[in-house]
Amino acid sequence: MSDIDDVPVPEDDLDGHTMEELAEYLDRGRSPRDPAIEGSASCRLALSNMERLRELSLGALQYRADAEPDRETDWVDRLLATIRAEVRPGRDVPVPHPDPRLRLSMTEAAVRGLVRRTGDTMGGVVMGSCTLDGELGDPGAPVHVRVTAGLVYGAPAEETADRLRVRIAAALARHTTLTVASVDVVFDDVYLP
């Protein structure tokens, strides 16, 4: 998938905004503040992920754009397409409460955003996609997390994957009530620091 416009995401998922608009808004440093964008959870989720991607990939972009322009564009486009697709709220992950009148939950998109940010802030990787397999709506049901990521050139793959797994599991244990049965990491690209 090389073109973010190929991803069939209704504009509703971004509360009427587009990824292009959000990219331009980021270019302007989120200034002047746009209340419609900042007041949308989906837009803020996408902005957060795009912002991090930009910080992480700037060096790689500058270096590889000269050497492998097509490949670089594909890589970034693929990541943007993933970010765009993952703003859909998805399934609800319940947060139990003893009062039956309270129905509390976290969206699947929020969980995926948490996983992405947990990986991107670790260093050494650029997060790609995040998939949650399992019955998210059933408390106690095993959930299998699968992430793809780009690995910084020269980093030890096995050790980095182990650190990433542990870090993701810790974040999910702290911020969700999911029963995480496994965290699988697939490095699908290598990038220059």
């Binding site: 947060v95 509390l104 994957a161 911020h175 699988d184």
Partner: protein, 129 residues
Amino acid sequence: MSDEALSRALTDRIRSVPGVTGVYPTRPIVHAAAEAVASTFALQEPDVLVDVHRDGSALRIGAGIAVDDARPAPETVREVGERIRDLVDERTGAPADLVEVTIRLVEGIGGPVDESAGHDAGEPAATPG
């Protein structure tokens, strides 16, 4: 108390909960706009973001929130739900039938993470390679 006033009070109350960084309507903004009537526009104002829905005598409250990762998200959303419930009980004189709160976004600087907390969960798949 009108529904708009109740929504405003609830929005304000939610924002005061430690760990809450944003409050959102439960419906996408464009959906609400499509059903545009004056009262709907009013409910989109920045301080009127909690959905107050009545169906006969039934009262349902709905809100979306963003939370800060400095506090465990389940703690934050539980406190938000309890505060909404208590305020509705206090202000309307009739208990809410259902209070729905959804975390839409977890924000923060992304660390530090206490990696030991999730070590067991990460172990089963920690296969080298």
